[in-house]
């Protein structure tokens, strides 16, 4: 009987903890001979197990000792039971097709577009705009190379990512669920990873700019979801070449892990 108790003791103390990490496959910490996947301190919770039924699935977390991100210049770590060990990027550009109709030299034409981004286990991200201004086969609408006010009668194309009053369009970035967890920014000079930063000219209300290749949003750390609204303005002059103009904006998210 005593022999059985010893065997049970060995199994409980030794084998079960091994089993607790059996589901973890990715590598995070390494030395010359060993690597550590995910580390569990404290009590309660699970790094790999879930409660699930036919329709629902849930991860377990009870009495976590500490949660959140800790980082230095090179490495970072996430604490908490419900962490994931794989780099992640969620980049959603809400596809929209806006027809502004006939433009007028006496009033500004406006449109908006939205996108959101969330990344994980990264040093942050940048978002670039990589498309030429509105154009047809013969003419390209003049893009505002420096941040400028809307001036109907002057050929202009520009955008920004803040709320405006003249014209009344746009919205500031929204941190979802809050600024505690999400850090995306459009502010001029806001840092991204690896020495990058947001270009000037896209974060002042009523001032618009467009330069293909500019970084228009960034975060210098892993971030929860940030929802961005892009406001576009188009003005024409009496000499703006006639025809139909199309602007297909390609946004590129570049996370660095």
């Amino acid at each position: 009987m005593q022999k059985w108790r010893k065997i049970v003791f060995t199994v409980v103390v030794g084998v079960l903890p091994l089993a607790s990490v059996g589901l973890v496959r990715a590598t995070t910490y390494t030395s010359t001979h060993y690597q550590v996947n995910q580390i569990l301190f404290g009590s309660g919770g699970s790094t790999g197990s879930t409660f699930h039924s036919t329709n629902y699935n849930s991860q377990v977390s009870i009495g976590e000792v500490g949660v959140g991100n800790t980082k230095g210049n090179i490495y970072q770590a996430y604490s908490g039971y419900n962490t994931n060990d794989a780099p992640y990027l969620q980049f959603i550009v809400n596809s929209s097709s806006t027809n502004l109709g006939y433009l007028s030299s006496s009033s500004v034409a406006t449109a908006t577009g939205t996108f959101s981004i969330r990344d994980y286990l990264s040093q942050g991200y940048i978002v670039e705009t990589d498309s030429p201004p509105p154009a047809n086969a013969f003419h390209t609408i003049t893009a505002l190379s420096t941040a400028s006010l809307s001036a109907p009668g002057t050929e202009q194309f520009g955008m920004n990512l803040v709320a405006n009053t003249s014209p009344s369009i746009g919205a500031a970035p929204v941190q979802n669920p809050s600024s505690v967890f999400s850090f995306g920014s459009v502010t001029s000079g806001a840092p991204g990873p690896n020495g990058t930063s947001v270009a000037a000219g896209y974060s002042t209300a009523n001032y618009f700019k467009y330069n293909s290749g500019d970084i228009i949003a960034a975060s210098n750390q892993s971030s929860g979801e940030t929802d961005y609204t892009i406001s576009y303005i188009t003005n024409i002059s009496s000499s703006t070449a006639a025809g139909a103009y199309t602007f297909n904006q390609v946004l590129i998210a570049l996370p660095t892990y």
């Binding site: 780099p87 027809n99 433009l103 990873p193």
Partner: protein
């Protein structure tokens, strides 16, 4: 057989169990396990920059720049980048190819350099790969599309934990669906990698990267065709009724009469510009006419040589351009046939007519192609080849000789502007 006291045997047995349990428990709790790859470490500052995130981008036209910092010191002779739609986890035996993806056929084109990358791709400088690398696409998806790219170099490049490795893949096909996909990056010290998902071989460094295609934001608009054209004296709206002559509206044999009161403004957004046509006849009085100036020698304009010349003609020049370019005036209406200028002429305001009104010497010249101006659409006076806004002057001139029949000579000239969109 040696005999140990029962108490000692119990302690030894308990101690052995406890030691085993402790070792197993510590390794288990910390999740520590030996690895297959000696000194394998995670690459840092790793990213893949896409030239476009458009899932509808032209196949095999997208460039990816793979960039990372080595994690340890060794000589890298092979780099594997495997693109998966399910996860970036090294060791996962499943790697599902992203829909529509291709690294660039079986022979992907790549750019590697270390410095002075110049026209190849300046953003690759400074990085360490240098030249001598070849690329192969493996893990066939379908047709000629492959999921995995393997770069090899038999000489290899020595790297340290601060070496930045980067290269361009220049004929990639983006996934054709919107959303996240992943790359698994591994480096090797031999050109034979033995890589397959879940059995990656003896790799040196490794890392996962997430990428995403995204939908486009499309804005369309139209600019309607516009043409604003006005012929006037003084200001637009004032009809150009010209009395050509001296104080008494008489043409003289001593010198031509010059009038510069006629303006035309032209503004158009026509992509291919616009043309202004002149339509009408020369001065006419019943059955008599003042001879048209014609197109002159070699179409350079009617050359006015002396007084007493019998002619009617005009020249034209630009006075202001608000946008675009000044109209190009048809050569025999440009006024330059005698090395003079149309703009140098002066308005005769009365009194005795004299040659100085011709702006010279050398005097301006005048033209009038009566053949063309009599046609349905008239004779081209000037044109622009792109949108533009300008104001221009038409200088009218007429002189007579002693044999010109008397009478009141008149003509009605039309200027017609047409845009080409």
């Amino acid at each position: 057989m040696r005999y140990y006291p029962r108490t000692f045997r119990r302690l030894f047995y308990k101690g052995s169990l406890l030691s085993v349990a402790t070792i197993v428990a510590v390794f288990g709790l910390l999740g520590i396990r030996p690895v297959n790859q000696v000194q394998a470490a995670q690459i840092t500052t790793r990213s893949i920059l896409m030239s476009t995130s458009n899932p509808a981008a032209t196949a095999n036209s997208v460039t990816y720049q793979v960039r990372f910092t080595a994690a340890s010191s060794y000589t890298v002779k092979a780099i594997v980048v495997d693109f998966c739609s399910n996860d970036p986890i090294i060791g996962d035996a499943t790697c599902t190819a992203p829909t529509g993806f291709d690294v660039g056929t079986s022979t992907p084109t790549i750019i590697t350099c270390s410095s002075a990358c110049g026209t190849n791709d300046a953003t690759l400088s400074p990085t360490v790969l240098g030249s001598g690398w070849t690329a192969a696409g493996t893990n066939l998806i379908t047709g000629s599309a492959y999921r995995t790219i393997t770069l090899t170099n038999s000489t290899g490049v020595a790297v340290t934990s601060s070496s930045v490795i980067a290269f361009d893949m220049t004929n990639v096909s983006n996934p054709t669906t919107v959303g996240t996909f992943y790359a698994r990056v591994l480096t090797y010290t031999t050109t034979t990698t033995g890589y397959s998902p879940g059995s990656e071989g003896a790799y040196s460094d490794y890392g996962g990267i997430a990428l995403s295609t995204a939908a486009l934001i499309t804005i369309t608009s139209k600019v309607q065709e516009q043409l604003t054209f006005c012929v006037y004296t003084g200001s637009c709206g004032t009809a150009a009724n010209i009395l050509l002559g001296d104080t008494n509206d008489i043409l003289s044999t001593s010198a031509p009469a010059v009038n510069k009161a006629v303006n035309y403004s032209l503004s158009t957004n026509a992509v291919h510009g616009a043309a202004v046509y002149l339509k009408g006849n020369t001065l006419t009085s019943g059955g008599n006419t003042v001879p048209a100036a014609g197109t002159g020698i070699s179409n350079a304009g009617f050359i006015y040589n002396t007084s007493g010349t019998d002619f009617f003609g005009l020249c034209s020049y630009n006075t202001s351009v608000a946008f675009g370019s000044a109209p190009t005036v048809t050569n025999y209406y440009a006024g330059t046939g005698n090395s003079g200028t149309c703009s140098g002429t002066t308005q005769d305001t009365g009194g005795t007519l004299n040659l100085t009104s011709l702006g010279g010497p050398p005097y301006a010249t005048f033209g009038f192609n009566a053949t063309n101006t009599a046609t349905t659409y008239g004779d081209q006076l000037s044109n622009i080849t792109a949108p533009g806004t300008s104001v221009n002057i038409v200088v009218l001139a007429a002189g007579v000789n002693a044999t010109q029949a008397d009478g009141i000579y008149t003509t009605t000239l039309q200027l017609i502007a047409i845009g080409t969109y």
